[in-house]
């Protein structure tokens, strides 16, 4: 039993320590911000690529060779940039 009581007091001290220092949270935020950096960079490229592929497929479908691929390339770029702005806004709201 003494072992358990000892554990209880130790747990209490540890909990107070966690409450006091938000160092743990800071660490978490650091890794997740690096994660969102990876997310943003690939998202931008993926949006443009997917837009262009959709344009290419639709072009083959409707036989309007160069036009839809051009339009969808720009739409993809817009989507990518909008997505980055959205994510950045969300990150700012969190802080």
């Amino acid at each position: 039993m003494s072992n358990l009581n000892d554990l209880k007091t130790r747990l209490k001290i540890a909990r107070e320590k966690i409450k006091k220092s938000s160092k743990n949270e800071d660490n978490n935020r650091n890794s997740s911000s690096m994660g969102s950096a990876f997310k943003l960079s690939t998202d931008l490229v993926a949006h443009v690529a997917v837009g262009t592929i959709i344009g290419f497929i639709l072009d083959n479908w409707f036989d309007t060779k160069p036009w839809l691929i051009i339009i969808f390339f720009f739409l993809g770029s817009i989507a990518g940039i909008l997505n980055v702005i959205k994510t950045a806004k969300k990150m700012q709201e969190k802080e």
């Binding site: 997740s32 990876f38 993926a46 989507a79």
Partner: protein
């Protein structure tokens, strides 16, 4: 051949060739390392939770840490509604993490550096999330593509853009993991090749780089597994709690 930095990504057959209806189903080094990582995960979790002590030993501590980490992540990003999907996200995270980490061992094979593996996982997540969304909200799920508060003139344009960004989810999810793992391992091999070719005189500088890059790669291996899991949670959140 050994100095070719892309040689490490080659898939080759282990054991006899197995062909079923013209499809090659032979056991390869990729399957070996998938099996190894699955076995390692099972071993860790079984051994860790075998004796449920109040004061945990090291293995129990590690497995409980993983459990808490994922449970907290799901709760923070997707809310309490996503609790039933915990087993899926947990196994997804563990599998990607262990594949990445096993790939860091010398002479091993990185399964996640092949786009077919990551794309398959990403497409599965994409289809699953879409099905869940339609099951929960019916055709109301299509509201995801029509954000509120947009002028009617711009609505068709915004809808097309939203559809493009929805379709680009599996692409960005798979390409991120695959490109990071492949680029990192190629770079490690290139610097390793410099050490050999520069010899005793100039080989020390690339050797130092190699050591630093190994540390970075271990960080990236963990981070990519984390990003993969957290993005799955975010997509799940979109499907479960529809609000725009």
């Amino acid at each position: 051949m050994a100095t070719n930095p892309m040689h490490q990504f080659q898939v080759h057959r282990i054991g006899p060739e197995i062909k079923i209806i013209g499809i090659d189903l032979s056991f390869t080094n990729a399957s070996l390392f998938m099996l190894l990582s699955a076995t390692a995960i099972c071993a860790l979790l079984f051994l860790g939770t075998r004796e449920k002590k109040i004061i945990p030993d090291k293995l129990q501590l590690i497995s409980e840490m993983f459990y808490n980490f994922i449970a907290k992540m799901i709760n923070d990003t997707a809310g309490s509604k996503a609790k039933p999907y915990f087993p899926f996200i947990f196994s997804l995270f563990m599998f990607v993490l262990f594949c990445n980490m096993l790939g860091m061992l010398p002479y091993s094979f990185t399964v996640t550096s092949h786009i077919i593996v990551t794309l398959l996982m990403a497409i599965f997540i994409f289809i699953a999330v879409t099905v869940i969304g339609f099951l929960k909200h019916g055709f109301g799920y299509l509201k995801l593509f029509v954000p509120s508060g947009v002028p009617t003139l711009l609505l068709p344009l915004i809808t097309i853009i939203e559809i493009i960004s929805y379709l680009s989810r599996p692409v960005s999810l798979s390409v991120r993991l695959f490109a990071n793992m492949m680029a990192g391992h190629t770079m490690l091999k290139v610097f390793g090749g410099f050490v050999i070719s520069l010899g005793m005189l100039g080989g020390w500088l690339p050797l130092g780089f190699s050591v630093a890059l190994t540390g970075l790669e271990i960080l990236v291996a963990f981070l990519q597994a984390y990003v993969f899991a957290i993005l799955t949670c975010i997509y799940l959140n979109d499907a479960l709690n529809l609000h725009h």
